[in-house]
């Protein structure tokens, strides 16, 4: 994070009171706006004027920031750090506009200009919103139950020799099978599509958590147990107050793996049987060759999944703050 504090701020703001990247970005965004409104579309797309207004608004905001960013403190430093990205974004909007709407080099319906995506968000807001909620619900049920079950199984496997004797071979055998391979039988065995989808997401996220929790609990420094035992710790205390906290760094590795697997399986499961959800929406819109809707959904997915990953990072840094300086 320290690079944010340095990046750009010293170079531009301290020496010259104008943030040069900001001016350049404003120019790029303004050019993109001009390109959008001042030249005709080869094929008409909705929402073109609105998109140009948004670009102009962005350009004006960037111009204002160019003169004021040095007074904005921490936020200002972050903005300055991303200055080159803001310039690139403006250029990208202009180029994207030209190659799609203005020249048709990348033709409809397989490609869409930015206003095409904007149009989707405006027209299909309710349905997209519902799909987001359905996907989040499925993810929360599946990931939540998978992680809890995987963690408990992992603790049992790592702690109890008897449990490990029976459980470890099974986990080693079915663990590497991709969760998607279970799709045919789960949709057939489980009563509803939703419960089958939850099960698949749970399986995908639970298995890495179980494996890494087990290895974490199994590799705890024996000396910690010796200390705790001389201090009068019960078996319960040894498990929950020694083994589990000591193995949390491993558990988090499992959580990250499980998180990525859960996204993959969630989309596939939704494509196969669901009546709502982002995976279903992708599938459905592809059927109508509505690729603007597909791209619009991909953007939402990128934001949602990276947001959840970020959330897990923040949680880990909180929970494992005692590790700072160790790793």
């Amino acid at each position: 994070m320290s690079d944010i504090a340095q990046g750009g701020a010293v170079r531009t703001v301290a020496s010259v009171p104008i943030w040069r990247d900001g001016v350049a970005a404003a120019a790029a965004w303004f050019v993109a706006a001009i390109v959008t409104v001042a030249t005709p579309d080869v094929v008409p797309w909705g929402s073109t004027p609105l998109w140009a207004e948004i670009l102009t608004g962005g350009a004006v905001l960037l111009l204002v920031l160019s003169g004021t960013v040095q007074w904005l403190g921490r936020v200002g430093r972050v903005v300055v750090h991303y200055g080159p990205w803001l310039v690139a974004l403006g250029v990208w909007f202009a180029v994207w506009e030209v190659v799609t709407a203005k020249t048709g080099w990348l033709p409809k319906p397989f490609f869409s200009p930015p206003q095409g995506l904007l149009h989707v968000y405006l027209v299909d807001t309710t349905r997209l919103g519902l799909c987001v909620l359905f996907s989040l619900r499925l993810w929360a049920y599946g990931f939540g139950s998978g992680v809890i079950a995987g963690f408990l199984v992992g603790v049992a496997l790592g702690w109890s020799k008897r449990f490990a004797y029976w459980g470890m071979p099974i986990l080693k055998l079915i663990g590497p099978v991709p969760a998607t391979a279970w799709i045919p039988c789960t949709f057939f065995i489980l009563p509803t599509t939703f419960s089958a989808s939850v099960f698949l997401v749970a399986l995908a996220s639970g298995i890495p958590v179980a494996i890494l929790t087990a290895s974490g609990v199994g590799s705890v420094n024996r000396a910690f147990y010796d200390v705790a035992r001389t201090l009068g710790a019960s078996e319960r205390f040894l498990v929950w107050r020694v083994a589990v906290p000591a193995s949390l760094p491993h558990v988090f590795v499992g959580l990250f793996m499980g998180l990525y697997y859960s996204f993959a399986v969630l989309v596939v499961a939704e494509m196969l049987g669901a009546k709502y959800g982002l995976g279903w929406y992708l599938q459905f819109q592809t059927g109508y060759s509505a690729y603007a809707n597909v791209y619009a959904t991909l953007v939402i997915m990128a934001l949602l999944t990276s947001g959840l990953v970020k959330l897990l990072f923040v949680t880990r840094d909180r929970v494992l703050s005692w590790q700072k300086g160790i790793i």
Partner: protein, 262 residues
């Protein structure tokens, strides 16, 4: 009032320790490694005994057996006549390595014994007293990785003392401290021991420390450890390092330990 005295609740019984014909060996990569050879040792209730011996001779192993963490191959260990079969919080071992729990703050590390036995809610003050005894009040909320080696050792000492043990087993607990802090900690240990009256078994490399603290100094041989000889130190406390008798005794003990040790 010394910080140590605050840790005293009420006078309590101390225990007698009996080590009878204990021999112990390890398996080191398929090789039989005898470590303890027929150790016989009686410690009276409330006695302070120091163990001296060359590195790797088996001192820590003996303490682990007394703590009940391991069972001897041959022989028996008795606490007040009852065989020691498992660890018990009445016998607390301060390990050679501090082994603080890295995910707990210093305060929570010190509190862990009370917490494990469900005594913490009623005895929070003891944690604070133990911390001030080892002069770590200011670091109560620090994590172990933020401590120096000597501070970690003192935290480990506090974690043991807070439990009010009948038998305190100390494995070079002051090894990493500078000479001034070491002296202060030695004084605190002695005043605590005098007031509480627990039985103490101290492993140390420092002959002077043994002479300042113990009623009896036991010298062990090189591995496998046998008891070579023992010295009674019949001097009132507080003792002075430059006491002529002690200086003389120090020379004698160093001679017994051999040239390797000094």
């Amino acid at each position: 009032m010394s910080a140590a005295l605050k840790l005293v609740d009420a006078p309590r019984r101390s225990v007698a320790l009996e080590v009878r014909g204990v021999s112990h060996a390890f398996d080191l990569g398929g090789k039989h490694l005898p470590v303890l050879d027929n150790i016989d040792l009686s410690v009276a209730p409330g006695e302070f005994v120091a163990l001296l011996g060359p590195s790797g001779c088996g001192k820590s192993t003996l303490l682990r057996l007394v703590a009940g963490l391991e069972q001897p191959d041959v022989g028996a260990l008795l606490e007040d006549g009852a065989p020691i079969t498992a660890p018990d919080p009445s016998r607390i071992l301060v390990f050679q390595d501090p082994t603080l729990f890295p995910w707990r703050t210093v305060w929570k590390n010190v509190a862990v014994g009370l917490e494990a036995r469900g005594l913490l809610p009623a005895h929070k003050q003891r944690v604070a007293d133990a911390l001030s005894l080892v002069r770590l009040e200011a670091f109560a909320q620090a994590y172990p990785h933020q401590l120096s080696g000597g501070m970690a050792q003192r935290a480990a000492l506090a974690r043991a003392l807070v439990n009010d043990p009948h038998l305190l087993l100390l494995d070079e607990p002051l090894g990493k401290l500078d000479s001034l802090t070491r002296l202060a900690m030695q004084n605190e240990l002695v005043s605590l021991w005098q007031k509480v009256g627990f039985t103490a078994l101290l492993v140390t490399h420092d002959v002077e420390e043994a002479l300042l603290l113990a009623d009896r100094v036991i010298v062990l041989s090189d591995r496998p450890a046998r008891i070579v000889t023992e010295f009674l130190i019949d001097k009132p406390r507080p003792r002075r390092r430059d006491d002529a008798d002690l200086v003389h005794l120090r020379q004698t003990i160093l001679a017994t330990l051999g040239p390797v040790h000094d």
